[in-house]
């Protein structure tokens, strides 16, 4: 009987365009579209910035020295055109008006500072609201600074190694897999939780509040099917929808990585392939399933209580923030899965998935996380059952 209800509700749900959009279409397309846009836009910005020919204004009595240095810069540091300025305020104004992109001010006492071997402050003027200007100034400055340093050390007859007695060598012992897990691992459970919630939302409202609103619930309740069977049949559709939405988001992400050249570094791509194994996907779904049941169990009592689709939507939408907010924990570095965090719902799923990606998930914490979520899912089902059995709520 549960399967009969499940089958009918699933057909009904799959024929609803609004649900189909939120359950399949949006999760499936969101990553290919956003990632393609992001990659294309950022690479075009990078390309534009590197190809941009900057006009550099130089001011100062001894500007010629630096003019020559700038002219000798390697072509790899970007195209440029130099212009001499007689007045520092005119140079500033030209930058403000966008006629000049970078300005170099050489101090008047540059010769004296050079002679007495003191530091020479070189002032770079730029408009920080334009992308890449400061970076270009820094790369020029580094080049000139290294050159000046080498000359001065030579004049002093000092060996570079003598003034740097300690040379730090930082070696990262974490595997690349662990690094990806820690840096990007919070992202995956976040999208899963977000889409799992959205996927549950419309079917939950449609199958409970919608049925009340359309006047079909009364007929269903007069059939010789117990209320718990009706509830379970409907709940299975809500959970399936949440799982489908999350799976579609994962599929969209997989398609983006595999076919849209989002990840161009082959080593990282190999690591990603190594992470996305069937056992990883099974373990992740085992964590996600009780979470989605919990979502469904939290939404159904609201959907049963609400008298209209609008009312249900207005209560469930803010709930989205309450549920999805803890998922942001995954983005904070330093928060790790331990006995305490494994007992915090939603947070435990995020941290467990993060550790799962890194390959460092301990069986004990996995069991605690899973146990807590299963317990919560069971409680939410009980609350749903009680609300669904409440005759004052079930009929409008």
């Amino acid at each position: 009987m549960i399967f009969t209800i499940f089958k009918k509700e699933l057909i009904d749900t799959l024929r609803d365009k609004r649900t189909m959009r939120t359950m399949l279409l949006i999760p499936l397309l969101v990553f290919p579209i956003t990632l393609t846009l992001f990659v294309n836009v950022s690479s075009s910005f990078e390309k534009k910035a590197s190809e941009e020919k900057l006009k550099i204004g130089v001011w100062g009595d001894l500007g010629a020295k630096y003019w020559n240095q700038l002219e000798q810069m390697p072509a790899g540091l970007g195209k440029k055109e130099l212009e001499n300025f007689e007045d520092s305020s005119a140079l500033k104004r030209a930058i403000e008006q966008g006629e000049i992109q970078l300005g170099l001010i050489v101090p008047k006492n540059e010769a004296e500072l050079t002679r007495t071997k003191q530091s020479i402050p070189l002032t770079w003027l730029f408009d920080a609201s334009s992308v890449g200007r400061q970076q270009r100034a820094e790369s020029y400055m580094n080049f000139m600074s290294n050159k000046a340093e080498a000359i001065r050390l030579k004049e002093l007859g000092v060996d570079v190694e003598k003034i740097h007695p300690l040379v730090p060598v930082y070696q990262n012992c974490a595997s690349d897999k662990k690094m990806i897990g820690q840096l990007a691992g919070g992202f995956l459970p976040y999208i899963f939780i977000a889409f799992g919630f959205i996927g549950c939302m419309y079917p939950a409202i449609d199958l409970f509040t919608g049925e009340k609103e359309r006047g079909t619930i009364e007929t269903l309740l007069t059939t010789p099917v117990s209320r718990w069977q009706i509830l379970v049949g409907k709940m299975m559709v809500v959970v399936t929808s949440g799982m489908l939405a999350a799976s579609c988001a994962l599929l969209g992400l997989f398609v983006s990585i595999e076919f849209l050249d989002i990840v161009q570094n082959k080593e990282i791509l190999d690591i990603v392939h190594g992470i996305l194994t069937p056992s990883f996907i099974i373990a992740m779904f085992s964590l996600l399933f009780p979470l989605v049941v919990f979502f469904a169990g939290a939404m159904i009592p609201i959907a049963v209580y609400a008298k209209s689709f609008k009312e249900a939507q207005s209560i469930i939408t803010p709930l989205n923030f309450v549920m999805v907010l803890p998922a942001m924990i995954g983005f904070f570095p330093g928060i790790e899965l331990n006995a305490m965090t494994a007992a915090i719902p939603v947070v435990n799923i995020v941290l467990s998935t993060k550790e799962l990606i890194s390959g460092t998930l301990s069986v004990g914490y996995y069991c605690i996380s899973l146990g807590i979520m299963l317990l919560l899912a069971t409680l939410s089902v009980i609350v749903s059952y009680r609300q669904f059995g409440n005759e004052a709520r079930i009929l409008n």
């Binding site: 009969t4 009918k8 057909i11 609803d16 359309r214 007929t219 007069t222 010789p224 004052a392």
Partner: protein, 252 residues
């Protein structure tokens, strides 16, 4: 057969309901000590003005609501103790019944036949009989959302009768329907009576009651004001017509 004895139903009032009803009471009494019997092969009419407790009574008979006290027997089954068993004997149709707009009539009928656990052979026979009787064959594959009100009403009737129930409950079945569509319902009630089924229907339209019913009960503010045969009701009328007599009894 339906046997109702000392039926009572109280509803807990929410804070909002108390405000709407302008009362401080925690409970509202919808049905107060109702007792009556509906015989097989006869049409029993439950009459009363709006808010009299008709729908609440019929919802208790169909086991959607549980009574606060009292007993209900449906086709020999104690409906309070065994609601699920009682429901398998009942066909329930209301004027406000909705249908699943995204399904076809055929899918809806198959769904309800499965919920009532109608054996396949019997289901096919009932489907053929009802589709022919109600002239439904032309729109079986169309989505409900695209059907006219009359077509939808036929689907509702077919859905109610697919499991060949012993007891049929109609809650204001013609409310909101035009005369031609309402005629399908009138015909269905007559057919049920001819087939020896127990029929109970609620209404506040006296012409319908006059046309169909054998026995009647009048309820007002949850209490039984009259219970007897229609022929006796007509014979003992003090007013000049049925509607005036109904009003006289309610206002007594």
């Amino acid at each position: 057969m339906i046997k109702v004895s000392h039926l009572r139903k109280e509803f807990e009032l929410s804070r909002q309901q108390k405000k709407e009803l302008n009362t401080t009471a925690n409970k509202a009494l919808a049905v107060d000590d109702l007792s009556f019997e509906c015989q097989p092969g006869k049409v029993f009419s439950l009459l009363g003005p709006n808010g009299a407790g008709k729908t609440t009574t019929l919802r208790m008979l169909s086991t959607i609501l549980s009574p606060t006290s009292g007993s209900i027997e449906i086709a020999g089954i104690d409906a309070v103790k065994y609601p699920q068993e009682a429901r398998s004997k009942i066909g329930f149709l209301t004027g406000s019944t909705g249908l699943y707009a995204r399904l076809t009539p055929l899918e809806i009928i198959d769904y309800f036949a499965a919920l009532y656990q109608v054996p396949t052979k019997e289901k096919e026979e009932r489907k053929k009989y009802l589709f022919d009787l109600l002239n439904m064959n032309d729109f079986l594959q169309k989505r409900i959302g695209k059907l006219s009100t009359g077509m939808k009403q036929k689907v509702s009737i077919c859905r109610t009768m697919i499991h060949n129930p012993e007891v049929v409950i109609f809650d204001e079945p013609t409310s909101g329907l035009d005369v031609i569509t309402a005629e399908n319902i009138i015909k269905l009630i007559r057919d049920c009576k001819d087939q020896g089924k127990t029929v109970i229907f609620s209404s506040h339209i006296m012409s319908e009651v006059d046309l169909l019913c054998d026995d009647l009960a009048i309820v007002h503010k949850g209490q039984l004001k009259y219970n007897g045969q229609m022929s006796d009701f007509r014979q003992n009328m003090e007013a000049s017509n049925l509607t005036e007599e109904f009003i006289r009894i309610v206002q007594r």
